[in-house]
């Protein structure tokens, strides 16, 4: 399944914060139409990887390529334009905007309407807007938020906020969707539902998924490839079964003494 072409590739990606090395020469190879997970203990630098790919801050070394094109020198909006969408660990919706407005912002770069069009209410601009609202409504329905379009994002329950954030990212029509702990704070049955949903994204929409996750059942259940980070370094990589048995991984998670127990 993971025999496709490489979509995202990092070569010796390095990020330092002052003296702290957050990511140390990381090589990642995310295949097209795969579900690729990044796991690791707290502070391993997982979210930093996302921030580097999105180019929220400059990297200190290495390169990031999306479909062969270098994206590490682009501003975040241009990275987004190349087809990278993401969600955030601590949900970052536009809280004072309604659900549908959140999604419409996600569609920003696909909308053609210009400001003078909006002011003059040109036919083209109105048609564009109408189409956008229809599509946003469809997206809401797709993620299971039917009828909640006018609710302010801040007033949505937690689970719905997660879904809305994914919907907002999907509105960008991304090639690569980076999900930062999509099942955080969910109970097992909700997590399971999320797993099905994420698979659907890949199978139905053909989106490549890069995932940060803590719930091991979620990770092991759906990933094609798992990368394990510890202190900014890759300590293991491969299919879930391989990673699960890797001594280094167990050590990183449970410490030296845990190794015996697991084995």
């Amino acid at each position: 399944m993971t025999t496709g072409q490489t979509l995202l590739k990092t070569n010796a990606l390095t990020k330092r914060f002052g003296g702290l090395v957050a990511i140390d020469a990381l090589d990642l190879d995310v295949k097209e139409r795969s579900i690729h997970s990044i796991i690791g203990p707290n502070g391993a630098g997982k979210t930093t990887v996302f921030n580097c790919i999105m180019n929220f801050f400059p990297i200190e070394g290495g390169e990031i390529r999306l479909s062969e094109e270098r994206i590490d020198n682009m501003t975040p909006d241009r990275v987004a334009f190349r087809g990278v969408g993401r969600t955030y660990q601590n949900i970052r919706l536009f809280k004072n905007m309604s659900s549908i407005e959140n999604i419409l912002v996600g569609m920003h770069m696909h909308l053609k309407s210009r400001w003078w069009g909006a002011v003059l209410r040109s036919r083209h601009s109105r048609a564009d807007e109408k189409k956008a609202v229809e599509e946003a409504t469809r997206l809401l329905q797709y993620v299971g938020l039917r009828g909640k379009g006018d609710v302010l994002a801040r007033n949505l329950p937690y689970g719905d906020q997660r879904k809305l954030e994914i919907a907002r990212a999907l509105a960008m029509k991304p090639k690569l969707l980076m999900l930062d702990e999509p099942t955080a704070g969910m109970n097992p049955s909700e997590s399971l539902e999320m797993v099905g949903f994420i698979r659907g994204l890949r199978d139905q929409l053909g989106i490549t998924i890069l995932l940060i996750e803590h719930h091991m059942p979620v990770v092991m259940g759906m990933s094609d490839t798992v990368t394990v980070l510890d202190h900014g370094t890759k300590i293991s990589e491969g299919p879930p079964d391989h990673v699960k048995r890797d001594k280094k991984v167990i050590e990183a998670y449970l410490g030296q003494s845990g190794v015996g127990h697991m084995a």
């Binding site: 999105m54 909006d77 990275v79 987004a80 970052r92 004072n96 920003h108 400001w115 909006a118 002011v119």
Partner: protein, 579 residues
Amino acid sequence: MSFEIIASSFQHKDIEQSQLRRTLKCGAIGGGTVVALCVFGLINQFMERWIIENLLSLAHAAFIGITLTVGALIAIRSPKLSPAARIFQGFLVGMVSGVFLSILILIMATFDIRNMFVSLSPKLLMFLSYGFDPYTACAVTIIVGGVLGLIGAAIRESPPWLRKPLITGLATAFFIGLFAELLQLAMQYETVDPIRDYMFTWEGQTLTGAITMFVLGFVLSLFWVMRGKQVMANHRAKSHASQRSIRYFLYAIAIVLFLLFPMAAGSFFGQVLMLVGLYVLMGMGLNLEVGLAGLLDLGFVAFFATGAYTIALFTADNEHLILLIDRPLTWWEALPLAMFASLMMGLAFGIPVLKVRGDYLAVATMGLGEIIRVVVLSDMASPLLGGSQGLLHIPRPWIGDFELNDPIHLFYLTLISSIIAAYFAWALENSRLGRAWMAIREDEDVGQALGINLVNVKLLAYGLGAWFAGLAGAIFAVMLGSIFPHSFQLLISINILALIIVGGIGSLPGVVVGALMLIGTPELLREFGEYRFLAYGFVLIVMMRVKPLGLWPSAVRKRELAAAAEAEAQMRATSGQKA
């Protein structure tokens, strides 16, 4: 959970504050305010201004109003007492206020402290003591204070059908009296002469006029309290179509009255309205920046200046004139140039501060705005821009053979411009660009990660905002006929920002309300000179405490507030259960 218990225990304590302490506190608020008014010299000014001719001066009205208010305040703050006890508390509070004033009277009678406090004059002492000797005066002050406090609390405790009409009636009579002179100026027509003579003399409102106004306010308010619900219910019972036609009819009347008012009211009102209109126009522009895009801008006056100077350079017949064709341009021809120049200034302004956020942005833009003013003043630019001598002889605009030379004409010009600006803001708010602005206001990083080009949308916010400021500047230039760098002080930027905040950030009606409040009212109260700025600052502080969302919050902000209140109520309910 432990947090909730702590939070609820605080609320508990708040209610259990001792009654004595509460009474003293309210009394101190009233007494302190009154004493402060005396010390700052406001009372000296107020003495000269009759609300009711030869009977009640503004100074009296201030004393009475403040004491009534604290009387009502203690009644509100003592929910656990019986109504009678609350009214008695009002009496006590009034007396405490009276004690404060008495102490001032005694001090003034005993010591001469005029070298420190110029305002504490013998005249003021005469006024405060009603000609009695100091000790009698103190006794009278305290007793009168008590009675007023009692009345205040009693009004508060009376049923709504009495309370609301009373307050409305008093307020009507007060405001008519306060603005007696302006109203008379507006009533210079023979047809209304009898009404004017009945209501006013040139000294102020007559007693009969005041009583008439009180009765009028009382009756109208009483009608509304008694029958208002039914009227509304009847209205709602009607079909949608007829409801709508009634609404449009009322709108139409309001609009016609509004349009005719400045013409009827004379040129002083016209001038004030014109100024308010200019600020509304600039407020609409700044609202795009601050309200929608969240870009705090304290250098806004620079765009205003650019518009004004461009008009001056292309139309004014003086040595600084720039000829594009063989004659000076007319105002209408120069207007697009002015707006374009402002737009360009907006872009030029935006570029250096693109990466600056929040409070830092406010400081950076403030610096930029000042740079513009200093450059205009400098020797370097003075051959072109006239330096501190400014640019003179700016001709008025013409429509055909009709010269727009009256402030009222220019007011209509501003009005039309403001409506266009408001339409712009309204149309953009629900567009792709408006949503992008709101998104970066909420979370710039996330917005950018969703593909919003920050450079474009920010520059558009600066550019379009500046555009309207340029339009306002163009009108300003012809209003004054000459412009000087001193007209473009930092204070203007601050004023515009303040009026947006007072009106309610992001709200279009709020801009109008804010401008009327902060620009219109001080103009009408011009005779109080410096004191109006004291009041201005005071009003700002009170406003932000009482209505932090502004006088007319935007729908979004209202939703936010409602959500927050709901959450708080919920938290209280749960913590109550647990306790």
